[in-house]
Symmetry: C2
Subunit: 420 residues, 2 copies
């Protein structure tokens, strides 16, 4: 039997507890949606004032040089790199995750097309339960290529080894997977799967939207080919903040993508009428980026300087373990179904449970200050962000959930809003 005292004792002994002070969280709220929008670092407000009043307002155009605006995409990349097992010059922050996936996918297809042994490969593999925008971007890209690529959706990532075998496997050009599934919170074994993909002669693209800053990631250790990810979830970079793209050094020279804007040019200010790609990671860029939004990302990343991903991961699992145990202890009478793996190696930093009235129950939770979110169909998501979530938060969240379920205190006809 777990008691509230147990949870309070865990908080008192938590070496990461002081990190919560780096964030401005409202009173009366238990925020379990950092997997969708990370909380606001306290430093972000002052940083915005500095960028807007001093850099933009006073220094104006000169700030491209004097305030380092021009280097921000790469500077942020160097801060993200150690969180994902990348070298400092392999990451850049730019554009959206979807646009970056488009670049990585296009680059992969081009690399395969240019390799005589692989030039005939025409299949892009992913799983049906991948984040939909990733699927849409692949559809969008291959719809414009005339060589007849096919996007094949696996019913489950577990079908991947079979799909990579034999004649069918020899047709696969690239496999794109999301490391931690947005809906279920299931984590894939990046290293093993990447090796399977490479053994079949295909390239591996990983979407780290729900991994970066949430779980330990080792892109170079896994020998992955390309990765993209999000800064506004577990990296706490601000709503809709630009995304990142990772290109390993071994692919820099071959990396080409169709969005060849001036920021990817060798001499952007020489104003030459022909494109010539810059060396290195900047060739993954395209156009000018939103400086104020970029600057705020730096506040989110700064918090990670004081912690290790190993420590964060340890606490994240302890939080989600506690949540699972309390669900069983307190809510066993209700039709909640766990869709997140119990096995640590297979679990990201969120727990998802279904309920026949999942949307209505989540709205009731939010109304009482326990903020998770909902995803079709029937899925309630609870994200555990060890930088600012404590064990007693988990206790309280489950108690509110129990009360709502015990009293059926939710509106089953709740009107759906666009985003929850």
């Amino acid at each position: 039997m777990i008691t509230r005292q147990d949870c309070l004792a865990l908080d008192a002994a938590d070496p990461l507890a002081p990190q919560r002070n780096a964030f401005a969280l409202p009173d009366g709220v238990i925020y379990l949606d950092g997997n969708s929008l990370g909380a606001r670092p306290r430093a972000a407000l002052q940083r915005a004032q500095d960028v807007i009043a001093a850099e933009w307002g006073n220094d104006l155009i000169r700030s491209w040089n004097t305030a380092g605006w021009y280097d921000l995409p790469q500077r942020l990349g160097t801060l993200i790199a150690p969180l994902i097992g990348a070298a400092a010059d392999e990451v850049v922050v730019t554009d959206s995750t979807s646009v970056n996936l488009f670049k990585a996918l296009a680059a992969s297809l081009k690399m395969q097309a240019d390799a005589p042994a692989h030039a005939a490969r025409r299949i892009i593999l992913t799983e049906r339960d991948n984040f939909p925008s990733d699927i849409y971007m692949a559809e969008g890209l291959i719809g414009w290529l005339e060589r007849g690529y096919e996007l094949r959706l696996l019913d489950s990532w577990a079908d991947l080894p079979a799909a990579l075998e034999g004649d069918a496997g020899a047709q696969v050009a690239v496999v794109m997977l999301t490391h931690v599934n947005y809906r279920t919170g299931r984590m894939l074994d990046m290293k093993t799967i990447t090796a399977q993909i490479h053994a079949a002669g295909a390239l591996a693209i990983w979407d780290l939207a729900h991994s970066a800053g949430a779980v330990e990631v080792d892109l170079n250790g896994a020998n992955a080919d390309f990765a993209v990810g999000c800064t506004y979830k577990f990296l706490n970079g601000g709503p809709g903040a630009p995304a990142f793209i990772w290109v390993p050094q071994r692919h820099h020279a071959q990396f080409t993508q169709p969005l060849t804007g001036w920021w990817a040019h060798r001499q952007p200010f020489a104003m030459q009428p022909a494109f010539a790609p810059v060396a290195g990671i900047k060739r993954a860029m395209c156009g000018t980026q939103p400086v104020v939004a970029l600057a705020l990302i730096e506040c989110g990343l700064a918090v990670f300087q004081d912690v290790t991903m190993a420590a964060l991961r340890k606490k994240s699992l302890a939080l989600s373990d506690l949540f699972l145990a309390l669900l069983e202890q307190e809510c066993a009478a209700h039709p909640l179904e766990l869709i997140t793996p119990r096995n640590h190696a297979d679990r990201g930093s969120q727990v998802s449970v279904t309920h026949p009235h999942g949307y209505a129950v989540m709205q009731a939770l939010i109304a009482r200050g326990v903020i998770g979110d909902y995803r079709e169909p029937q899925v309630m998501r609870f994200g555990f962000t060890p930088l600012y979530t404590g064990y007693d938060d988990v206790w309280q969240a489950v108690m509110v959930l129990k009360d709502i379920l015990d009293r059926s205190d939710y509106q089953v006809d709740a009107k759906r809003t666009a985003v929850t």
Copy 2:
């Protein structure tokens, strides 16, 4: 003989003079670079605080609904629309100008390929002096299409009518032009040129980066096909703020582009594993956008609610006329060469002059608080932004320039920085 008293009198009689109070400009600076980075609206600081502290910090994920984050790209579009002769539902703010040009160009090629009478057209026409990133994006796109498109660079826009004639003209699929040239400040006759392009069976894409908020634009009056533009120059939206794309209602149904992210989906939160485009302008979107940067754009656009583009244009021309007259009066002894048209109909909202030591002279100007900028080769650009630039500013700028030139007070070996 123009005197300073004349300039002060013009300021005193200027109906737009009060608008300067809407902007926070540093003391001791004459800012003539709003064509590169617009000045900071005073309201932007408070707005950033509200978005960061209240909307992000306190309301967290709920702000996608409660603070209208989800609708920002379209809401900003409705504010830009009247400035460019567009209907309210034809503009959306998203991504960068380069990425939006890619979408417009891809959509144009697809529309032509789908039209039996035009399907064989394979030429994209632009001018060599177009903004380089536009050229690079066209290169990037057609490099990935296998139907053998050709990007043809005209030595001058004046060669366009000839290039649209006869057999060669019948091969032109699309013409992409920038309305006001970034380097020279030359403005094209959008209506006449669009009619020429249409008469040849081609589509017309306009880049409004140096037009929107600077000159009167009537996209629908010109019957243009697509347009893209920038919010961080004359619209004062903040450094690197997201760009806009215009798709006229008559093309909405046929508009398809390869960057089919979830924000362009009919039901983005239904999480379906197949793309289905939304109706209307949102199909020009792709991924999630940087909310803080978007919110600041609204502050820049708010200032335009109190003025008319006709009044702004009148003052803009009066300012650049004054600058030209004072250059002749005060600096005639120096090797300055005007590369901006004198004719009002051909002039945007900047004046560009070359000088053999243009870079060094511009650095000297900036060091003395007169901020213009430099573009290769030898070009000094002076932007006139009637919302916050006065006639006496022009007087003082020319006096400083005269003094620098008279005394050769510039460093010809000045080290070049990345961006000026």
